[in-house]
């Protein structure tokens, strides 16, 4: 999450809203945001409906796995990274960049 925070300007520049999302409660996420200096909103999927909808719910652990999805302005998924690959935000930034440029050339 810190890596995403560090690159928040790049996401902002591309007219992108970034969300962290986990199955933690809102108070737990607030504490997490405070300790890590995160300024973007963290969503609380307490009921685990979204992690299930996105197919990354870990049944045994009862939590969502690490993954990053980039969704364009039409609500279409443009980029998916899962597991350890999702820690580095670079490829998500690139995807946002491409979306911005696509929009500019249309």
């Amino acid at each position: 999450m810190k890596a995403y925070q560090a690159d928040i300007a790049k996401f902002d520049a591309n007219d992108t809203q970034i969300f962290g999302i986990s199955v933690d409660s809102v108070p737990a996420n607030r504490e997490f945001a405070k300790q890590n200096g995160l300024t973007f909103p963290l969503l609380s999927d307490f009921k685990r409906t979204v992690v299930k909808d996105y197919g990354i719910f870990n049944e045994e652990g009862g939590y969502g796995n690490r993954a990053t999805f980039v969704i364009d302005k039409d609500g279409v998924i443009q980029h998916i990274k899962e597991g350890s690959e999702a820690i580095d935000p670079t490829s998500a930034e690139d995807a946002c960049n491409i979306l911005t440029h696509k929009k500019a050339t249309q």
Partner: protein, 84 residues
Amino acid sequence: MIKTAFSFFFLLAAVSIAAAQPTPTQTPAPAKPAPQAPHTNLKVGQAAPDFTLRATDGKTYKLSDFKSKKSVVLAFYVLAFTGG
């Protein structure tokens, strides 16, 4: 008639005994495969499932509210306080 009934009974008994026998060639249950990290079945080009969730800033966000306004990056993380 009695003979037929008797043979039928015998046949039935034979079948029941056979069915009750454990299959000698039964192989032990295969070892449980190591739990694998679930992978999303969503694909690039598909519509992102909508959601409405509460956030740390006290607001409630609906994904579809961003339509034709902003791109959205959803960074799912395992649990708070696990790093990353």
